[in-house]
Amino acid sequence: MVKSKGIASWQWAALVLLRVVIGWHFLYEGMAKLFNPYWSSASYLLEAKWLFSGFFTTIVSNQQLLKIVDYLNIGGLIAIGLGLIAGFLVTPACIAGILLLLLYYVANPAIVGFKSSMPAEGSYLIINKNLVELAALVVLCFFPTGRIAGLDRLLFGPLKSKVSKEE
């Protein structure tokens, strides 16, 4: 069994890779919505049948509120994406990403008994891709990869880890 004495550089590299690809996904989701004049979170929110479904309906029923939520969502996705790719404020970016994904999951959970008419490109039981991405962000939350490769290294200084010692 491998002892968790330290994290090897290739392990850090793998975590950084995970962070960057998730960041890319967030960034593109935000950009695609920003440049699509027809996009609105309304239909997604209206699908909500579980927790907060009343709250989501309130959002949709109010055009101004819906607009704000749309912009918050787009802005959030882009900011999280930028942060994760650049390794800038990685932990807050991870937490924000987790919250956003949690909202998406709650709105359309893959739980038995909750049927959603949103098209799904796979088959899911409880765990769906939102939850997988969320779990990946939870992992990244506990590994400050931004201080290994990312702007957090300048902001908070490099990690004084075994990696640097070994090298």
Binding site: S61, N62, I85, G150
Partner: protein, 531 residues
């Protein structure tokens, strides 16, 4: 805490910033930034690719990407002349038309307020309050059921003026419609009675020089349609038939698409009705208070055969040929007019219809499953109508051309045919993706509004309830009434005038006649007769 954990914690603890940033730190800090370069390059490439495809498509289609700025001219003008309205027949539809003209019963406002509290997506009241001031006064009301007449009188005293409901003098009730038409206090009349009264009332209104807004179906028989057509044509009155979908933005867009020949040669149009509720099959609620004491049964019967008082026949008149024509006059009429609006088909040469009473065995004599086929040999086109009142499975209204097919309801979608001549090259160049529509138009795409009942959902999906103007949801019946009023003021012809009405009535009656005679019928334009 175990020593190992403490050690790890220390390891991960922030190290103080080094006095001088080493080159290695800078390299690592910026190491992921080149990813942005890759992202931007990939993103720009995709955008360029998508945009090139879109532009090529729009250029080929001769369309602009913007939503169409289609507004009937009349609705853009300020109405200066006050019009004195009368209404004959204030059932569900009549009361709705009154609201479209700005007259509302306070109890309706209360009920909508309650519903909006229960369902925050219900915007009926908001939509009503945002209606334009029609600059009308309701001076006369006629209904043969006392509670409805009283309700209309109450509505006449509550008028929408610039977003506020204000109290006004209100209307006078007339027991007989002729008295209403002879009143010097009435300039224009809305007729929303059962179909068997349409022709007689409209003819009398024309004789009394009153402008007419007549509900569909224009008449109950072809002979009546001919008479009314001649009377209106030789008069000065402004006539509008109640096909409100003439104001539907997606229909107006559909017409543009056909005019630009984007569908190629259209040889088949299929249109449908699917409903599956008692209400949708005209089993309307019977008010508890209804009795021979408060219903003028003799006046209701009018030109129809004499029968003893029957509350079902009074409230559910659409179920009997004595008073209407069933699916033909109720829903085929809308479907036909929508197609006529887009294609300008006119009256067909032949019609064949069939159907039966297969589900609602409630004593009705009109079919609840009904189909009609109309042939237009000159246009080389067939129009099919297929309806059931016992299945809600949605079937659209589809225009099938050699190059593309178009589905039109509240939204519009054009899909290229893989075997098309016109789009063949674009398929090969991958400008057109076979899995995606060529063009789609969704008015008000940014917002979603609730449609509450099953029947209401039916009307909304067929484009019969709402449209959007400047991004705001509007009741198209309001736009249709408004167009009629503006045409009265300006002396113009409205979109569903007597010519369109005549085509609608004859087409529907050809289907009815074919069903009743059990054979194909033909329209003789010289004699103006169904043979």
């Amino acid at each position: 805490m175990t020593p190992e954990k403490i050690e790890k914690k220390e390891e991960l603890a922030a190290a103080p910033l080094p006095p001088k940033l080493r080159r290695r730190d800078l390299l690592l800090a910026f190491s992921t930034l080149p990813v942005f370069g890759g992202f931007v390059a990939a993103w720009l490439k995709k955008r360029k690719f998508d945009e090139r495809k879109r532009q090529a498509l729009l250029k080929e289609l001769g369309l602009s990407a913007e939503a169409p700025a289609i507004l009937p001219e009349g609705t853009l003008k300020r109405s200066s002349q006050t019009i004195r309205l009368g209404i004959i027949g204030v059932g569900g539809r009549g009361e709705h038309l009154l609201r479209c003209a700005g007259f509302v019963h306070p109890r309706w406002i209360e009920s909508r307020r309650r519903e909006a509290k229960l369902n925050r997506l219900n915007r009926d009241l908001e939509i009503f309050l945002s209606q334009k001031d029609t600059n009308c006064v309701l001076t006369a009301v006629c209904d043969v059921f006392d509670p409805r007449a009283e309700r209309a009188l109450e509505a006449s005293r509550h008028v929408l003026r610039n977003g506020q409901v204000v109290e006004e003098k209100g209307a006078k009730r007339f027991r007989h419609y002729q008295d209403l038409l002879n009143s010097s206090e009435v300039d224009a009349v809305i007729i929303a009675t059962p179909d068997h009264w349409h022709a007689a009332m409209a003819l009398d209104a024309v004789a009394a020089k009153k402008h007419v807004y007549l509900e569909k179906c224009m008449t109950r028989t072809a002979e009546e349609a001919v008479k009314l057509y001649e009377a209106v044509k030789s008069s000065q009155i402004i006539f509008q038939l109640g096909h409100q979908q003439r104001q539907q933005e997606s229909h107006l867009r559909g017409r543009q698409i056909v005019e630009r020949k984007l569908l190629g040669k259209i040889t088949l149009v299929e249109t449908t009705t699917n409903r599956n509720s008692p209400d949708g099959a005209w089993q309307y609620e019977i008010p508890e208070e209804a009795s021979p004491e408060n219903i003028d049964w003799e006046q209701f019967l009018g030109p129809a055969p004499r029968r003893p008082f029957d509350v079902y026949r009074f409230f559910r008149w659409r179920c009997w040929f004595d008073y209407g024509t069933g699916l033909s006059g109720d829903l085929l009429s809308h479907e036909y007019d929508a197609v006529n609006q887009i294609l300008e088909l006119g009256i067909p040469k032949y019609a064949v219809a069939s159907g039966g009473i297969y589900f609602f065995k409630d004593g009705r004599d009109v079919p609840d499953v009904f189909h009609a086929t109309f042939e237009y040999p000159d246009r080389e086109l067939t129009l099919i109508y297929s309806a059931t009142l016992a299945s809600d499975r949605y079937r659209g209204r589809i225009f099938m051309g050699h190059d593309a097919w178009m589905e039109v309801g509240e939204t519009l979608t054009v899909t290229a045919d893989p075997e098309s001549t016109r789009y063949k090259e674009m398929y090969l160049e991958e400008i057109i993706e076979p899995s995606l529509p060529l063009f789609s138009f969704r008015p008000g795409a940014k917002g979603i509004d609730a449609v509450t009942s099953a029947s209401e959902r039916y009307f909304a999906t067929r484009g019969l309830l709402y449209s959007y103007r400047a991004g705001k949801r509007v009741d198209i019946s309001h736009l249709h009434v408004l167009e009629w009023l503006d045409c009265i003021r300006d002396g113009r012809q409205p979109s569903c005038n007597i010519d369109r009405g005549f085509e609608e009535a004859i087409t529907c009656h050809m289907a009815t006649e074919s069903y009743l005679r059990g054979r194909r019928v033909e329209w003789n334009p010289e004699e103006r007769k169904i043979i």
